[in-house]
Protein backbone atom coordinates (compact mmCIF):
# COMPACT_ATOMS: atom_id res chain seq x y z
CA UNK A 1 0.00 0.00 0.00
CA UNK A 2 1.35 3.35 -0.94
CA UNK A 3 1.75 6.07 1.66
CA UNK A 4 0.43 9.58 1.27
CA UNK A 5 2.22 12.63 2.59
CA UNK A 6 -1.02 14.56 2.65
CA UNK A 7 -4.52 13.28 3.25
CA UNK A 8 -7.48 15.54 2.65
CA UNK A 9 -11.24 15.60 2.98
CA UNK A 10 -13.58 17.80 0.97
CA UNK A 11 -17.28 18.44 1.33
CA UNK A 12 -19.99 20.98 0.57
CA UNK A 13 -23.68 21.28 1.42
CA UNK A 14 -25.15 20.06 -1.88
CA UNK A 15 -22.31 17.66 -2.43
CA UNK A 16 -22.42 17.65 -6.17
CA UNK A 17 -19.93 20.19 -7.50
CA UNK A 18 -17.64 22.03 -5.08
CA UNK A 19 -16.68 18.86 -3.21
CA UNK A 20 -15.23 17.33 -6.36
CA UNK A 21 -13.78 20.52 -7.74
CA UNK A 22 -11.82 20.93 -4.54
CA UNK A 23 -10.68 17.32 -4.84
CA UNK A 24 -9.51 17.91 -8.41
CA UNK A 25 -7.78 21.16 -7.46
CA UNK A 26 -5.92 19.59 -4.54
CA UNK A 27 -4.86 16.58 -6.61
CA UNK A 28 -3.55 18.80 -9.38
CA UNK A 29 -1.72 21.07 -6.95
CA UNK A 30 -0.12 18.11 -5.19
CA UNK A 31 0.98 16.64 -8.47
CA UNK A 32 2.55 19.95 -9.42
CA UNK A 33 4.37 20.11 -6.11
CA UNK A 34 5.45 16.48 -6.39
CA UNK A 35 3.77 15.17 -3.24
CA UNK A 36 1.46 12.22 -2.74
CA UNK A 37 -2.09 13.09 -1.77
CA UNK A 38 -5.32 11.19 -1.20
CA UNK A 39 -8.55 13.17 -1.16
CA UNK A 40 -11.69 11.80 0.42
CA UNK A 41 -14.95 13.30 -0.86
CA UNK A 42 -18.10 13.84 1.19
CA UNK A 43 -20.70 14.31 -1.51
CA UNK A 44 -24.30 13.60 -2.32
CA UNK A 45 -23.43 9.99 -3.15
CA UNK A 46 -21.80 9.52 0.22
CA UNK A 47 -18.17 9.26 1.21
CA UNK A 48 -15.86 8.14 -1.56
CA UNK A 49 -12.17 7.43 -1.71
CA UNK A 50 -12.37 6.84 2.04
CA UNK A 51 -9.21 7.39 4.05
CA UNK A 52 -8.16 4.39 6.11
CA UNK A 53 -6.94 4.73 9.67
CA UNK A 54 -3.49 3.65 8.53
CA UNK A 55 -3.39 6.27 5.78
CA UNK A 56 -4.34 8.98 8.23
CA UNK A 57 -1.71 7.73 10.64
CA UNK A 58 1.01 7.72 7.99
CA UNK A 59 0.24 11.17 6.64
CA UNK A 60 2.25 14.19 7.73
CA UNK A 61 -0.62 16.59 7.47
CA UNK A 62 -4.37 16.76 6.91
CA UNK A 63 -6.16 19.29 4.72
CA UNK A 64 -9.84 19.80 5.35
CA UNK A 65 -11.58 21.85 2.67
CA UNK A 66 -15.21 21.57 3.64
CA UNK A 67 -18.33 23.47 4.57
CA UNK A 68 -19.79 20.47 6.33
CA UNK A 69 -18.78 17.95 8.95
CA UNK A 70 -16.24 15.53 7.52
CA UNK A 71 -15.71 13.62 10.78
CA UNK A 72 -12.65 15.62 11.69
CA UNK A 73 -12.41 13.78 15.02
CA UNK A 74 -10.55 11.04 13.10
CA UNK A 75 -7.67 13.45 12.67
CA UNK A 76 -7.09 14.03 16.35
CA UNK A 77 -3.48 14.70 17.11
CA UNK A 78 -2.62 15.42 13.46
CA UNK A 79 -1.50 18.69 12.01
CA UNK A 80 -4.56 20.09 10.30
CA UNK A 81 -5.15 22.84 7.79
CA UNK A 82 -8.85 23.59 7.97
CA UNK A 83 -10.43 25.85 5.35
CA UNK A 84 -13.67 26.32 3.47
CA UNK A 85 -14.32 24.31 0.34
CA UNK A 86 -14.02 27.37 -1.89
CA UNK A 87 -10.55 28.06 -0.57
CA UNK A 88 -9.72 24.48 -1.50
CA UNK A 89 -10.77 25.20 -5.07
CA UNK A 90 -9.26 28.65 -5.37
CA UNK A 91 -6.06 28.36 -3.36
CA UNK A 92 -5.15 24.71 -3.74
CA UNK A 93 -1.55 25.52 -4.65
CA UNK A 94 -1.05 27.65 -1.57
CA UNK A 95 -2.70 25.05 0.64
CA UNK A 96 -0.34 22.37 -0.60
CA UNK A 97 2.63 24.69 -0.05
CA UNK A 98 1.41 25.46 3.48
CA UNK A 99 1.04 21.75 4.09
CA UNK A 100 4.58 21.07 2.92
CA UNK A 101 5.96 23.98 4.91
CA UNK A 102 4.62 22.66 8.17
CA UNK A 103 1.81 25.11 8.63
CA UNK A 104 -1.53 24.21 10.17
CA UNK A 105 -2.65 23.57 13.67
CA UNK A 106 -2.45 20.59 15.90
CA UNK A 107 -5.90 20.31 17.21
CA UNK A 108 -8.70 18.23 18.54
CA UNK A 109 -12.14 18.61 17.20
CA UNK A 110 -15.06 17.64 19.36
CA UNK A 111 -17.45 15.83 17.11
CA UNK A 112 -20.68 17.37 18.30
CA UNK A 113 -19.40 20.83 18.31
CA UNK A 114 -18.16 20.96 14.82
CA UNK A 115 -20.87 23.09 13.33
CA UNK A 116 -18.74 25.03 10.98
CA UNK A 117 -20.66 27.64 9.12
CA UNK A 118 -17.85 28.24 6.71
CA UNK A 119 -18.98 30.11 3.72
CA UNK A 120 -17.15 31.92 1.03
CA UNK A 121 -18.73 35.19 2.10
CA UNK A 122 -17.49 35.12 5.64
CA UNK A 123 -14.30 33.17 5.43
CA UNK A 124 -12.35 35.67 7.40
CA UNK A 125 -14.77 35.65 10.27
CA UNK A 126 -14.65 31.91 10.47
CA UNK A 127 -10.92 31.67 10.38
CA UNK A 128 -10.92 33.35 13.76
CA UNK A 129 -13.43 31.68 16.00
CA UNK A 130 -14.76 34.18 18.47
CA UNK A 131 -13.33 33.98 21.98
CA UNK A 132 -16.73 33.33 23.52
CA UNK A 133 -17.31 30.41 21.22
CA UNK A 134 -13.88 29.04 21.93
CA UNK A 135 -14.41 29.14 25.69
CA UNK A 136 -17.76 27.47 25.22
CA UNK A 137 -16.14 24.76 23.12
CA UNK A 138 -13.56 24.03 25.83
CA UNK A 139 -16.24 23.97 28.55
CA UNK A 140 -18.39 21.66 26.44
CA UNK A 141 -15.56 19.22 25.99
CA UNK A 142 -15.05 19.10 29.75
CA UNK A 143 -18.73 18.79 30.53
CA UNK A 144 -19.52 16.07 28.02
CA UNK A 145 -16.73 13.91 29.41
CA UNK A 146 -17.75 14.67 32.99
CA UNK A 147 -21.42 13.87 32.49
CA UNK A 148 -21.21 10.05 32.65
CA UNK A 149 -19.30 10.30 35.93
CA UNK A 150 -22.05 12.42 37.47
CA UNK A 151 -24.80 10.17 36.15
CA UNK A 152 -23.23 6.82 37.05
CA UNK A 153 -22.01 7.98 40.44
CA UNK A 154 -25.14 9.92 41.29
CA UNK A 155 -27.54 7.16 40.38
CA UNK A 156 -25.57 4.51 42.31
CA UNK A 157 -25.51 6.72 45.42
CA UNK A 158 -29.23 7.38 44.99
CA UNK A 159 -29.90 3.64 44.77
CA UNK A 160 -27.91 3.05 47.96
CA UNK A 161 -30.32 5.37 49.76
CA UNK A 162 -33.11 2.89 49.09
CA UNK A 163 -31.70 0.88 52.01
CA UNK A 164 -32.02 4.01 54.12
CA UNK A 165 -30.06 7.22 53.96
CA UNK A 166 -27.58 6.01 56.58
CA UNK A 167 -27.14 2.59 54.97
CA UNK A 168 -23.47 3.29 54.26
CA UNK A 169 -22.65 4.11 57.88
CA UNK A 170 -21.45 0.96 59.72
CA UNK A 171 -22.39 2.43 63.09
CA UNK A 172 -25.99 2.98 62.06
CA UNK A 173 -28.83 0.50 62.38
CA UNK A 174 -29.65 0.92 58.67
CA UNK A 175 -26.20 -0.33 57.63
CA UNK A 176 -26.23 -2.69 54.68
CA UNK A 177 -23.05 -3.99 53.20
CA UNK A 178 -24.23 -3.96 49.59
CA UNK A 179 -25.68 -0.48 49.92
CA UNK A 180 -22.45 0.73 51.47
CA UNK A 181 -20.49 -0.72 48.54
CA UNK A 182 -22.80 0.95 46.03
CA UNK A 183 -22.44 4.21 47.90
CA UNK A 184 -18.67 3.89 47.88
CA UNK A 185 -18.44 3.10 44.17
CA UNK A 186 -20.85 5.90 43.33
CA UNK A 187 -18.92 8.27 45.54
CA UNK A 188 -15.67 7.45 43.75
CA UNK A 189 -17.24 8.06 40.34
CA UNK A 190 -18.65 11.38 41.50
CA UNK A 191 -15.35 12.28 43.09
CA UNK A 192 -13.71 12.10 39.67
CA UNK A 193 -16.14 14.63 38.30
CA UNK A 194 -14.07 17.75 38.95
CA UNK A 195 -10.72 16.27 37.82
CA UNK A 196 -12.33 14.97 34.61
CA UNK A 197 -13.96 18.32 33.94
CA UNK A 198 -10.62 20.03 34.39
CA UNK A 199 -8.73 17.41 32.37
CA UNK A 200 -10.94 17.67 29.30
CA UNK A 201 -11.16 21.45 29.36
CA UNK A 202 -7.36 21.39 29.24
CA UNK A 203 -7.40 18.70 26.55
CA UNK A 204 -9.63 20.84 24.39
CA UNK A 205 -7.23 23.76 24.71
CA UNK A 206 -3.88 21.99 24.47
CA UNK A 207 -4.73 18.48 23.18
CA UNK A 208 -3.07 15.49 24.78
CA UNK A 209 -0.33 17.28 26.69
CA UNK A 210 -3.11 19.23 28.42
CA UNK A 211 -4.88 16.11 29.65
CA UNK A 212 -2.54 15.04 32.43
CA UNK A 213 -1.92 18.59 33.60
CA UNK A 214 -5.64 19.32 33.71
CA UNK A 215 -6.35 16.08 35.52
CA UNK A 216 -3.81 16.68 38.26
CA UNK A 217 -4.79 20.34 38.55
CA UNK A 218 -8.41 19.26 38.90
CA UNK A 219 -7.50 16.78 41.64
CA UNK A 220 -5.63 19.50 43.51
CA UNK A 221 -8.64 21.81 43.15
CA UNK A 222 -11.00 19.05 44.23
CA UNK A 223 -8.97 18.17 47.31
CA UNK A 224 -8.65 21.86 48.06
CA UNK A 225 -12.44 22.01 48.26
CA UNK A 226 -12.94 24.47 45.42
CA UNK A 227 -15.85 22.59 43.88
CA UNK A 228 -16.52 22.54 40.15
CA UNK A 229 -15.77 26.23 39.69
CA UNK A 230 -12.23 25.45 40.82
CA UNK A 231 -12.20 22.62 38.27
CA UNK A 232 -13.08 25.04 35.49
CA UNK A 233 -10.32 27.39 36.59
CA UNK A 234 -7.79 24.58 36.78
CA UNK A 235 -8.77 23.30 33.32
CA UNK A 236 -8.12 26.67 31.74
CA UNK A 237 -4.94 27.23 33.76
CA UNK A 238 -3.64 23.82 32.71
CA UNK A 239 -4.51 24.25 29.03
CA UNK A 240 -2.96 27.66 28.72
CA UNK A 241 0.09 26.65 30.74
CA UNK A 242 0.81 24.02 28.09
CA UNK A 243 0.19 26.48 25.26
CA UNK A 244 2.56 28.92 26.93
CA UNK A 245 5.15 26.18 27.41
CA UNK A 246 4.92 25.16 23.78
CA UNK A 247 5.59 28.75 22.82
CA UNK A 248 8.56 29.03 25.16
CA UNK A 249 9.99 25.69 24.01
CA UNK A 250 9.42 26.46 20.34
CA UNK A 251 13.07 27.16 19.72
CA UNK A 252 14.15 23.69 20.75
CA UNK A 253 15.43 21.43 17.97
CA UNK A 254 12.87 19.10 16.42
CA UNK A 255 14.90 16.08 17.48
CA UNK A 256 13.93 16.83 21.07
CA UNK A 257 10.18 16.63 20.33
CA UNK A 258 9.93 13.30 22.11
CA UNK A 259 11.52 14.72 25.22
CA UNK A 260 9.03 17.57 25.18
CA UNK A 261 6.01 15.32 24.95
CA UNK A 262 6.92 12.75 27.57
CA UNK A 263 8.99 14.82 29.94
CA UNK A 264 8.98 18.60 29.70
CA UNK A 265 5.26 19.23 29.12
CA UNK A 266 3.95 16.92 31.84
CA UNK A 267 6.59 17.69 34.46
CA UNK A 268 6.70 21.46 34.10
CA UNK A 269 2.97 21.68 33.36
CA UNK A 270 1.91 19.66 36.40
CA UNK A 271 4.37 21.55 38.59
CA UNK A 272 3.18 25.00 37.54
CA UNK A 273 -0.54 24.21 37.43
CA UNK A 274 -0.40 22.19 40.64
CA UNK A 275 1.27 24.99 42.56
CA UNK A 276 -1.15 27.57 41.16
CA UNK A 277 -4.13 25.47 42.12
CA UNK A 278 -2.75 24.93 45.62
CA UNK A 279 -2.43 28.69 45.91
CA UNK A 280 -5.96 29.22 44.67
CA UNK A 281 -7.34 26.50 46.96
CA UNK A 282 -5.63 27.89 50.03
CA UNK A 283 -8.18 30.58 50.84
CA UNK A 284 -11.06 28.15 50.28
CA UNK A 285 -11.04 26.92 53.86
CA UNK A 286 -11.12 30.50 55.09
CA UNK A 287 -14.00 31.27 52.71
CA UNK A 288 -15.80 28.21 54.01
CA UNK A 289 -15.34 29.12 57.68
CA UNK A 290 -16.18 32.76 57.02
CA UNK A 291 -19.40 31.79 55.32
CA UNK A 292 -20.35 29.45 58.18
CA UNK A 293 -19.91 32.27 60.70
CA UNK A 294 -21.79 34.64 58.44
CA UNK A 295 -24.67 32.23 58.05
CA UNK A 296 -24.90 31.27 61.72
CA UNK A 297 -25.60 34.93 62.47
CA UNK A 298 -28.73 34.76 60.36
CA UNK A 299 -30.29 31.59 61.72
CA UNK A 300 -33.07 33.43 63.48
CA UNK A 301 -33.72 36.17 60.94
CA UNK A 302 -36.92 36.36 58.91
CA UNK A 303 -37.69 33.50 56.51
CA UNK A 304 -37.35 35.56 53.34
CA UNK A 305 -33.87 36.85 54.12
CA UNK A 306 -32.68 33.51 55.47
CA UNK A 307 -34.17 31.62 52.53
CA UNK A 308 -32.56 33.99 50.07
CA UNK A 309 -29.14 33.59 51.64
CA UNK A 310 -29.38 29.82 52.01
CA UNK A 311 -30.78 29.41 48.50
CA UNK A 312 -28.08 31.51 46.88
CA UNK A 313 -25.29 29.85 48.85
CA UNK A 314 -26.46 26.30 48.13
CA UNK A 315 -26.90 26.80 44.42
CA UNK A 316 -23.87 28.99 43.85
CA UNK A 317 -21.10 26.42 43.64
CA UNK A 318 -22.87 23.09 44.28
CA UNK A 319 -20.30 21.25 46.36
CA UNK A 320 -17.83 24.12 46.57
CA UNK A 321 -16.92 26.05 49.72
CA UNK A 322 -20.02 28.22 49.75
CA UNK A 323 -22.49 25.42 49.29
CA UNK A 324 -20.63 23.37 51.89
CA UNK A 325 -20.83 26.25 54.36
CA UNK A 326 -24.62 26.20 54.10
CA UNK A 327 -24.71 22.45 54.40
CA UNK A 328 -22.30 22.22 57.33
CA UNK A 329 -24.19 24.95 59.17
CA UNK A 330 -27.39 23.01 58.56
CA UNK A 331 -26.00 19.80 60.00
CA UNK A 332 -24.41 21.63 62.94
CA UNK A 333 -27.68 23.34 63.83
CA UNK A 334 -29.45 20.03 63.36
CA UNK A 335 -27.15 18.49 65.97
CA UNK A 336 -28.07 21.38 68.27
CA UNK A 337 -31.75 20.51 67.81
CA UNK A 338 -32.80 22.97 65.10
CA UNK A 339 -34.50 21.01 62.28
CA UNK A 340 -35.94 24.13 60.61
CA UNK A 341 -32.69 25.42 59.19
CA UNK A 342 -31.76 22.12 57.54
CA UNK A 343 -35.13 21.99 55.79
CA UNK A 344 -34.27 25.11 53.79
CA UNK A 345 -30.76 23.91 53.00
CA UNK A 346 -32.09 20.58 51.74
CA UNK A 347 -34.76 22.31 49.66
CA UNK A 348 -32.10 24.55 48.11
CA UNK A 349 -29.84 21.57 47.40
CA UNK A 350 -32.64 19.50 45.88
CA UNK A 351 -33.88 22.28 43.61
CA UNK A 352 -30.94 22.78 41.16
CA UNK A 353 -31.08 19.35 39.47
CA UNK A 354 -34.89 19.57 39.38
CA UNK A 355 -34.67 23.01 37.76
CA UNK A 356 -32.58 21.56 34.96
CA UNK A 357 -35.01 18.65 34.71
CA UNK A 358 -38.04 20.91 34.37
CA UNK A 359 -36.18 23.08 31.93
CA UNK A 360 -35.56 20.21 29.50
CA UNK A 361 -39.09 18.94 30.11
CA UNK A 362 -40.70 22.25 29.13
CA UNK A 363 -38.16 23.41 26.55
CA UNK A 364 -36.93 20.08 25.19
CA UNK A 365 -36.51 21.19 21.61
CA UNK A 366 -33.92 23.77 22.57
CA UNK A 367 -31.68 21.11 24.12
CA UNK A 368 -29.72 18.37 22.42
CA UNK A 369 -30.37 14.71 23.09
CA UNK A 370 -27.59 14.29 25.62
CA UNK A 371 -28.85 17.25 27.61
CA UNK A 372 -32.44 16.04 27.48
CA UNK A 373 -31.47 12.65 28.84
CA UNK A 374 -29.29 14.01 31.60
CA UNK A 375 -32.02 16.52 32.49
CA UNK A 376 -34.42 13.65 33.01
CA UNK A 377 -31.90 11.70 35.11
CA UNK A 378 -31.69 14.85 37.23
CA UNK A 379 -35.21 14.22 38.50
CA UNK A 380 -33.77 11.17 40.25
CA UNK A 381 -30.65 12.98 41.42
CA UNK A 382 -32.57 16.01 42.66
CA UNK A 383 -35.12 13.91 44.49
CA UNK A 384 -32.28 12.26 46.40
CA UNK A 385 -30.42 15.49 47.25
CA UNK A 386 -27.58 14.95 44.78
CA UNK A 387 -27.08 18.59 43.83
CA UNK A 388 -24.12 17.71 41.59
CA UNK A 389 -26.54 16.62 38.87
CA UNK A 390 -26.95 20.26 37.92
CA UNK A 391 -23.22 20.84 37.51
CA UNK A 392 -22.96 19.75 33.86
CA UNK A 393 -25.60 22.33 33.00
CA UNK A 394 -24.00 25.01 35.14
CA UNK A 395 -20.49 24.37 33.87
CA UNK A 396 -21.52 24.90 30.25
CA UNK A 397 -22.82 28.38 30.82
CA UNK A 398 -22.08 29.43 34.41
CA UNK A 399 -22.91 33.12 34.04
CA UNK A 400 -26.48 32.46 33.02
CA UNK A 401 -27.27 29.12 34.63
CA UNK A 402 -25.94 29.67 38.15
CA UNK A 403 -28.00 32.83 38.86
CA UNK A 404 -31.10 30.99 37.64
CA UNK A 405 -30.37 28.05 39.92
CA UNK A 406 -29.84 30.50 42.79
CA UNK A 407 -33.21 32.07 42.07
CA UNK A 408 -35.07 28.75 42.05
CA UNK A 409 -33.26 27.47 45.14
CA UNK A 410 -33.99 30.70 47.00
CA UNK A 411 -37.70 30.43 46.24
CA UNK A 412 -37.68 26.81 47.44
CA UNK A 413 -35.83 27.75 50.64
CA UNK A 414 -37.94 30.83 51.39
CA UNK A 415 -41.19 28.89 51.02
CA UNK A 416 -39.77 26.07 53.13
CA UNK A 417 -39.00 28.50 55.96
CA UNK A 418 -42.40 30.16 55.60
CA UNK A 419 -44.14 26.80 55.82
CA UNK A 420 -42.13 25.95 58.97
CA UNK A 421 -40.98 22.61 57.61
CA UNK A 422 -38.79 20.47 59.83
CA UNK A 423 -36.28 18.07 58.27
CA UNK A 424 -34.46 16.01 60.89
CA UNK A 425 -32.09 14.26 58.44
CA UNK A 426 -29.06 15.82 56.78
CA UNK A 427 -29.40 14.08 53.39
CA UNK A 428 -31.58 11.80 51.31
CA UNK A 429 -33.92 14.21 49.56
CA UNK A 430 -37.48 13.03 49.22
CA UNK A 431 -36.52 9.63 50.64
CA UNK A 432 -36.66 11.11 54.13
CA UNK A 433 -40.22 12.45 53.62
CA UNK A 434 -41.72 10.03 56.17
CA UNK A 435 -39.83 11.80 58.98
CA UNK A 436 -40.37 15.34 57.68
CA UNK A 437 -42.91 17.55 59.43
CA UNK A 438 -45.14 19.37 56.92
CA UNK A 439 -43.62 17.14 54.27
CA UNK A 440 -46.26 17.88 51.66
CA UNK A 441 -45.70 21.63 51.96
CA UNK A 442 -41.97 21.02 51.70
CA UNK A 443 -42.46 19.18 48.39
CA UNK A 444 -44.71 22.01 47.21
CA UNK A 445 -42.06 24.60 48.14
CA UNK A 446 -39.36 22.71 46.27
CA UNK A 447 -41.53 22.10 43.21
CA UNK A 448 -42.60 25.75 43.01
CA UNK A 449 -38.97 26.91 43.17
CA UNK A 450 -37.87 24.27 40.67
CA UNK A 451 -40.64 24.91 38.16
CA UNK A 452 -40.10 28.68 38.24
CA UNK A 453 -36.36 28.12 37.90
CA UNK A 454 -36.97 25.63 35.09
CA UNK A 455 -39.16 28.06 33.18
CA UNK A 456 -36.60 30.84 33.52
CA UNK A 457 -33.72 28.57 32.55
CA UNK A 458 -35.63 27.25 29.54
CA UNK A 459 -36.57 30.76 28.41
CA UNK A 460 -32.96 31.88 28.61
CA UNK A 461 -31.95 28.84 26.62
CA UNK A 462 -34.66 29.48 24.04
CA UNK A 463 -33.59 33.08 23.70
CA UNK A 464 -29.93 32.26 23.20
CA UNK A 465 -30.66 29.42 20.75
CA UNK A 466 -32.90 31.66 18.67
CA UNK A 467 -30.29 34.35 18.67
CA UNK A 468 -27.71 31.83 17.51
CA UNK A 469 -30.05 30.59 14.82
CA UNK A 470 -30.76 34.01 13.43
CA UNK A 471 -27.05 34.78 13.49
CA UNK A 472 -26.38 31.65 11.46
CA UNK A 473 -29.17 32.48 9.04
CA UNK A 474 -27.79 35.93 8.46
CA UNK A 475 -24.58 34.40 7.22
Amino acid sequence: MSKFTIVAATGCPTGIAHTYMAQEALEQAAKKAGVQIKVETHGQIGVENTLTTQEIKDADVVIIAADKDVHAERFEGKRIIDVSVSKGIKDADNLIQDAINGKGKLRTVTSQNNEKVNNSNNERENDKTSIGRLIYKHLMNGVSHMLPFVVSGGVLVAISFLWGIFSADPTNAQYNEFAATLNQIGGLAMGLMVPILSAYIAESIAQRPGLVVGFVGGLVANNGGTGFLGGIVSGFVAGYTILLLSRILKGMPKSLDGLKAIFLYPVIGVFVTGLLMVAISQPMEAVNIGMIDFLAGFQNSNPVLLGLIVGCMSAFDMGGPINKAAYVTGTALLAQGNPYFMAGVSAACIAPPLITGFSVLFFGKYYDKEERNSGLVNFILGSTHITEGAIPFAAKDPLRVIPTLMLGSSIAAILTYMFKVQVPAPHGGFLVLPVVTNGLLWVVAILVGSIIGGLVLGSIRKYSMEKLKSAVEKI
Binding site: T14, I16, A25, Q28, Q44, N121
Partner: protein, 150 residues
Protein backbone atom coordinates in the same frame (compact mmCIF):
# COMPACT_ATOMS: atom_id res chain seq x y z
CA UNK B 1 -19.83 6.32 -19.73
CA UNK B 2 -19.98 9.31 -22.03
CA UNK B 3 -22.30 12.19 -21.42
CA UNK B 4 -25.25 9.87 -20.90
CA UNK B 5 -27.66 12.27 -19.26
CA UNK B 6 -30.54 14.55 -20.24
CA UNK B 7 -29.04 17.80 -21.40
CA UNK B 8 -29.67 21.05 -23.14
CA UNK B 9 -26.80 23.06 -24.57
CA UNK B 10 -27.25 26.55 -25.99
CA UNK B 11 -24.67 28.97 -27.38
CA UNK B 12 -24.96 32.71 -27.96
CA UNK B 13 -27.28 33.20 -25.02
CA UNK B 14 -27.55 36.81 -24.00
CA UNK B 15 -28.45 37.83 -20.48
CA UNK B 16 -27.94 40.90 -18.33
CA UNK B 17 -27.85 39.46 -14.87
CA UNK B 18 -27.48 36.34 -12.80
CA UNK B 19 -31.22 36.48 -12.19
CA UNK B 20 -31.90 36.48 -15.93
CA UNK B 21 -29.81 33.38 -16.29
CA UNK B 22 -31.60 31.61 -13.43
CA UNK B 23 -34.85 32.41 -15.17
CA UNK B 24 -33.55 31.08 -18.50
CA UNK B 25 -32.32 27.88 -16.85
CA UNK B 26 -35.65 27.38 -15.07
CA UNK B 27 -37.73 27.94 -18.17
CA UNK B 28 -35.51 25.71 -20.28
CA UNK B 29 -35.74 22.96 -17.64
CA UNK B 30 -39.54 23.09 -17.66
CA UNK B 31 -39.73 23.23 -21.47
CA UNK B 32 -37.51 20.17 -21.77
CA UNK B 33 -39.48 18.35 -19.08
CA UNK B 34 -36.63 18.17 -16.54
CA UNK B 35 -38.61 20.09 -13.94
CA UNK B 36 -42.24 20.81 -13.03
CA UNK B 37 -42.26 24.38 -11.82
CA UNK B 38 -39.94 27.08 -13.04
CA UNK B 39 -40.57 29.36 -10.05
CA UNK B 40 -39.67 26.64 -7.56
CA UNK B 41 -36.57 25.75 -9.52
CA UNK B 42 -35.49 29.36 -9.66
CA UNK B 43 -35.96 29.60 -5.91
CA UNK B 44 -33.82 26.50 -5.39
CA UNK B 45 -31.05 27.94 -7.58
CA UNK B 46 -31.11 31.21 -5.66
CA UNK B 47 -31.07 29.41 -2.32
CA UNK B 48 -28.01 27.43 -3.31
CA UNK B 49 -26.36 30.61 -4.53
CA UNK B 50 -26.98 32.22 -1.15
CA UNK B 51 -25.12 29.43 0.60
CA UNK B 52 -21.99 30.40 -1.31
CA UNK B 53 -21.16 31.51 -4.78
CA UNK B 54 -21.19 29.07 -7.69
CA UNK B 55 -19.15 31.50 -9.76
CA UNK B 56 -15.85 29.68 -10.13
CA UNK B 57 -12.74 30.94 -11.88
CA UNK B 58 -11.98 32.01 -15.45
CA UNK B 59 -15.58 32.91 -16.28
CA UNK B 60 -17.22 29.59 -15.46
CA UNK B 61 -20.25 29.25 -13.19
CA UNK B 62 -21.94 26.09 -12.03
CA UNK B 63 -25.33 27.08 -10.60
CA UNK B 64 -26.98 23.95 -9.27
CA UNK B 65 -30.03 22.92 -7.35
CA UNK B 66 -31.47 19.94 -5.58
CA UNK B 67 -35.23 20.14 -5.44
CA UNK B 68 -38.52 18.25 -5.46
CA UNK B 69 -39.54 20.07 -8.55
CA UNK B 70 -36.70 18.51 -10.53
CA UNK B 71 -37.89 15.25 -12.09
CA UNK B 72 -34.74 13.88 -13.69
CA UNK B 73 -31.08 14.69 -13.29
CA UNK B 74 -30.05 17.01 -16.08
CA UNK B 75 -27.43 19.37 -17.39
CA UNK B 76 -28.15 22.80 -18.86
CA UNK B 77 -25.26 24.61 -20.50
CA UNK B 78 -25.24 28.20 -21.74
CA UNK B 79 -22.43 29.93 -23.53
CA UNK B 80 -23.07 33.64 -23.09
CA UNK B 81 -22.44 36.43 -25.57
CA UNK B 82 -21.44 38.83 -22.81
CA UNK B 83 -19.97 38.62 -19.30
CA UNK B 84 -22.35 38.56 -16.35
CA UNK B 85 -21.53 39.60 -12.78
CA UNK B 86 -21.64 36.52 -10.50
CA UNK B 87 -19.60 37.37 -7.41
CA UNK B 88 -17.18 34.72 -8.65
CA UNK B 89 -14.15 33.39 -6.78
CA UNK B 90 -11.67 35.34 -8.86
CA UNK B 91 -13.99 38.32 -9.39
CA UNK B 92 -14.18 37.76 -13.14
CA UNK B 93 -17.45 38.02 -15.03
CA UNK B 94 -19.13 34.80 -16.08
CA UNK B 95 -19.54 33.82 -19.71
CA UNK B 96 -19.98 30.07 -19.44
CA UNK B 97 -22.75 28.55 -17.35
CA UNK B 98 -23.02 24.86 -16.60
CA UNK B 99 -26.08 24.16 -14.52
CA UNK B 100 -26.57 20.88 -12.67
CA UNK B 101 -30.10 19.83 -11.76
CA UNK B 102 -30.60 17.13 -9.15
CA UNK B 103 -33.93 15.62 -8.05
CA UNK B 104 -34.48 15.66 -4.29
CA UNK B 105 -34.85 11.88 -4.12
CA UNK B 106 -32.24 10.73 -6.60
CA UNK B 107 -31.63 7.07 -5.79
CA UNK B 108 -29.09 6.01 -8.36
CA UNK B 109 -25.51 7.21 -8.20
CA UNK B 110 -24.69 7.09 -11.93
CA UNK B 111 -26.12 10.46 -12.81
CA UNK B 112 -24.84 12.13 -9.66
CA UNK B 113 -21.36 10.85 -10.42
CA UNK B 114 -21.63 12.13 -13.94
CA UNK B 115 -22.66 15.60 -12.81
CA UNK B 116 -19.79 15.65 -10.32
CA UNK B 117 -17.41 14.65 -13.07
CA UNK B 118 -18.59 17.53 -15.21
CA UNK B 119 -17.88 19.87 -12.30
CA UNK B 120 -14.42 18.34 -11.91
CA UNK B 121 -13.69 18.92 -15.57
CA UNK B 122 -13.97 22.65 -14.98
CA UNK B 123 -10.84 22.50 -12.87
CA UNK B 124 -8.78 21.37 -15.86
CA UNK B 125 -7.10 24.18 -17.77
CA UNK B 126 -7.22 22.19 -20.99
CA UNK B 127 -10.97 21.66 -20.84
CA UNK B 128 -11.64 25.26 -19.89
CA UNK B 129 -9.63 26.53 -22.84
CA UNK B 130 -11.38 24.21 -25.29
CA UNK B 131 -14.82 25.17 -23.99
CA UNK B 132 -14.00 28.85 -24.29
CA UNK B 133 -13.05 28.31 -27.93
CA UNK B 134 -16.08 26.16 -28.73
CA UNK B 135 -18.52 27.69 -31.20
CA UNK B 136 -21.44 25.26 -31.32
CA UNK B 137 -23.61 23.00 -29.20
CA UNK B 138 -22.11 19.93 -30.83
CA UNK B 139 -18.59 21.07 -30.18
CA UNK B 140 -19.30 21.60 -26.49
CA UNK B 141 -20.92 18.21 -26.20
CA UNK B 142 -17.99 16.57 -27.95
CA UNK B 143 -15.46 18.17 -25.61
CA UNK B 144 -17.33 17.11 -22.49
CA UNK B 145 -17.93 13.60 -23.83
CA UNK B 146 -14.28 13.18 -24.66
CA UNK B 147 -12.97 14.25 -21.27
CA UNK B 148 -15.61 12.66 -19.10
CA UNK B 149 -14.22 9.20 -19.81
CA UNK B 150 -10.63 10.20 -19.24
Amino acid sequence: MGLDIQKSILVDVSANSQKDIFKLISNEAVNKGYANDSNLLMEALINRENEGTTGMMDGFAIPHAKSNTIKIPALIIFKLTNGVEWNSMDGKKINFVISLLIPEEEKGTTHLQLLSKVARLLMKEEVKNLLKEAKSELEIEAILTKYIDK
